[in-house]
Symmetry: C2
Subunit: 351 residues, 2 copies
């Protein structure tokens, strides 16, 4: 699998299938691991970082953690390719921006990604479409076991897995679910959800982490505590709260349909009309229009578009994807033109 | 010709043809006349008004001022039908609202309309598509001559034709041209046009007279003085200024194309997308969207819609037309639904 083949298709988590896929975009599990005998990344010199990256890369490839598997040496990669990987949620912003030797192994359909030399030596991520935390956890733990047979993980009997940042010590586990909650935003109940989630020590973030909260009405719910509980408890703790939020969003959608159906239809169809014909499409506006479209598709108000197409558009209209598609860097205005062009090409039937 | 047949088709002035039709919607000439031996309308009692209406009606029908000719006795007409006639520019708002015996004779294609017992005993109007003031004046004066052979017009050798309001005394002539000036509005040059027009004693009004100025970027230019000049001079005076305004509007459109083509295309295509898919369409918004669409059609930015379709929509989406179409009175929200439905039916190809 080449980089171009990978970005030509779309990730497993964008399929728009899986349980509760109308509201739950994806389920994600991430483990932080470090190798005994190496210092943490920030303490390493250049040679140590290189040695660590080479060792981990070799073991990931040998362990065949996924088939096919693409390994991208990020320090040698084109800066635009790194941005594309961020937009696809395969590496973090910090991993993109770092300067040292590092990489990412990406499994088939992007369901698996192993970041090497990010904040920790290893960050193993498994993403599944819809509400499938148990399945994601099952895959993740299997790969983690395979790597643990080949690598000597830094582990303390008292503390558990050791990590660069104390907030990850213990299980090294971060469990998160990406939700699409437009009706809770429209009915102004989203703040109540935030408050309820905060009370049980879960965090809420936007599509691309903190500070991107409004974008497309996407919200990530994740655990904040990784210590003092078993992995299964942490997974279950996040898993437990999701059906309630999903039910709230369903109810909010039904309330909008019952009380203000015409206005909802108007919002959805206008979004479709704008996306289908606009010639300039700023990113924020596009995300909001796609959000309305996505809800309309789920509610059956609009039947010409698939959930998968809408899901994919959320990612493919991001700046780096557009620039990769065009083959060169683009000014903001050019991006708005290309974004509009690309969306039109996806929503208008080809002659 | 029945009333229903008339409103099922569209008026001559909406054909979207004729000289400068991209910018000049229509040319209109109106003569005010009164019959010797009758007092002015406001001074008459009920019996006199009835006698006057019956005499004038008979003479109009006998003179065959146009073929076919529909005479609508407004005092007996359905109130909604009266509103439809106002929206089609065939009677005035005052004529709609009056209580006494009165009527209107409407000629084929609505090019000719003769209001009976409006402010004056006779208000003869001729409307032509595009910039055709001379043709409108030719038709108008021919009909006026035919009526003058059958009716004894109130005329003073010193003052000319006598009218109920002193501003119409003399020729009784009002000449007006309806212009579509979206680019002058967008480039913020419209105020300059108003100032220039005011300096030569012409008036500027909106689509439905005073106080409707912004609606759809339509502007009516007309003479204010009807005394002390010949009819031909008055026609020429208005006729003279139009090519300059038309040229300004053309230049403004070319400037927008040259300097900001993408933004202009975006505006036009978004308007198309909204009109094609909106489920709720308030009147003001619809007019503005149609205005952008109309300019886009003229500039060749959008080829799927004809100028005639757009011209007709401006009239057919007015409240009374929508209610006539639906067959009952509609609440404002229902009107927005019906308006959106109707526009969609005109812009989406039928399956």
């Amino acid at each position: 699998m080449t980089f171009e083949e990978m970005i030509g298709s779309s990730g497993e988590w964008l399929r728009g299938t899986g349980p509760e896929a109308e509201i739950v975009i994806s389920s994600r599990v991430r483990l932080a691991r470090n190798i005994r005998g190496f210092r943490f990344i920030t303490k390493m010199d250049t040679a140590e970082r290189a040695a660590c990256e080479e060792l981990v890369q070799r073991q990931i490839l040998d362990a065949k953690v996924a088939q096919p598997l693409l390994y991208v040496p990020l320090h040698k990669a084109d800066p635009m390719d790194r941005k594309v990987l961020v937009e696809r949620h395969l590496i973090s912003k910090e991993h993109e921006d770092a300067q040292h030797q590092r990489g990412v192994a990406i499994g088939a359909n992007e369901a698996v990604a192993v970041m090497v030399n990010e904040e920790d030596h290893i960050r193993l991520q498994v993403l599944q479409s819809g509400f499938q935390l148990q399945e994601a956890w099952r895959i993740c733990t299997r790969i983690d076991d395979a790597l643990e047979q080949r690598l000597d993980y830094a582990f303390s009997p008292q503390l558990g897995y050791l990590t660069a940042c104390p907030t990850n010590v213990g299980t090294g586990l971060r469990v998160s679910v990406m939700l699409h909650l437009p009706a809770l935003v429209l009915t102004r109940h989203i703040e109540k959800v935030f408050q309820a989630v905060a009370k049980i020590n879960l965090a809420v973030r936007g599509l691309y982490g903190e500070g991107t909260e409004a974008s497309g009405h996407f919200y990530q719910i994740s655990n904040q505590v990784s210590l003092g509980r078993s992995e299964e408890e942490i997974v279950k703790n996040v898993e437990h709260v999701i059906p309630t939020i999903v039910r709230y969003e369903h109810n909010a959608r039904q309330t909008l349909l019952a009380k203000d159906r015409k206005r909802l239809e108007d919002r959805v169809w206008r979004a479709y009309g704008m996306l289908k014909y606009a010639q300039l499409l700023p990113s924020d506006e596009a995300m909001m229009l796609l959000s309305a479209l996505r809800m309309g598709v789920h509610l059956g108000l609009l039947k010409d578009v698939s959930l998968r197409t809408v899901n994919e558009l959320f990612i493919l209209i991001q700046p780096a994807h557009l620039q990769k598609l065009t083959g060169r860097a683009l000014e903001p205005m050019e991006r708005d033109v290309k974004r509009a062009e690309f969306v039109r090409s996806k929503l208008n039937p080809q002659p």
